[in-house]
Symmetry: C2
Subunit: 197 residues, 2 copies
Amino acid sequence: MDSQRFQKQIEFMMEIDKLKQIFRQSLLTDGSRHENSAEHCWHLAVMTMFLYEYSQEKEIDCFHVVKMLLIHDLVEIDAGDTYCYDKTETKDQAEKEKKAADRIFNLLPEDQAKEFRTLWDEFEARISLASRFAHALDRFQPLLHNYQTQGRMWQVNGVKSSQVKARMEPIKDGAPRLWRFALDLIDDAVRKKMLDR
Amino acid sequence: MDSQRFQKQIEFMMEIDKLKQIFRQSLLTDGSRHENSAEHCWHLAVMTMFLYEYSQEKEIDCFHVVKMLLIHDLVEIDAGDTYCYDKTETKDQAEKEKKAADRIFNLLPEDQAKEFRTLWDEFEARISLASRFAHALDRFQPLLHNYQTQGRMWQVNGVKSSQVKARMEPIKDGAPRLWRFALDLIDDAVRKKMLDR
């Protein structure tokens, strides 16, 4: 056993525990508290296991999507979570996240650091069908959480339905068969006064 | 799109959110709060991605292990988390968990319910090398969390080192190259008075 290699793996294992302390804008479906990014990633990974049939890919590499989703938020350990409707905060977020990726993934042994970074770069680039499906799920889940919690966080943040629709576009792109459902949900939220027109 | 099938998938997706409210005995590594089962499963899934080289299997199906670990605690939504050193509580736990599996996995469409149940049964049976590696990680992670938090939960529950060693046996079985490290950590915890002999 290569003890230096193992030590790096243990260090990374302890470091990523911090993702459990990064809280997102979304609430749990019972509205009791905000969701953290680690449990959010878990939710998306399990969703992939039973929703991959809605991907655009004919022969989807399900594990590839799961791996991307499991690690896509790790950069938030340094860069924090940015609320998607806050334009001032998102400006230099990309730079902060790149720096975070440089530090965090490099805690791993070199071959694994490279593998994780490549996955994260693919997710961020949003070009491959796999990464576009991953993004679709990453948008789809908070949409359902917002709907389940009667749009509380939409109201708190004064978000309008046009903004939500624009934000949800990756669903149309990455999981087009979920798009109609997403649009209907948004329209229903407006009808039920959870969300401003 | 089969709307009945999709409706079941969405129902399952909302149901599993409840795992984020099931709290374990283990603390986060900074000791600030107890860990919940959803974020615990996320941690184990990511660990599989960089620790699979310590499995007994020569050609490990990494995704198979990840899938087992992502869903292995879902039964706790109904059955709760049982503290591993509490013998009175573990008595009828198996029966409660089986009932929970019957209800929860069957929210999914039939083919997927069967797939998830098969994964869970394999994990529980602990016969396949993949499931034994999954169990090894499931024991290894809280060991490190307990060590990182100076054994606070060991002390709170009056646990002794012999009990911890017995509890960690699945590591020897499923990831034998991690066993020496685990034993050294336990001995070091005794030396540092985090854990009673």
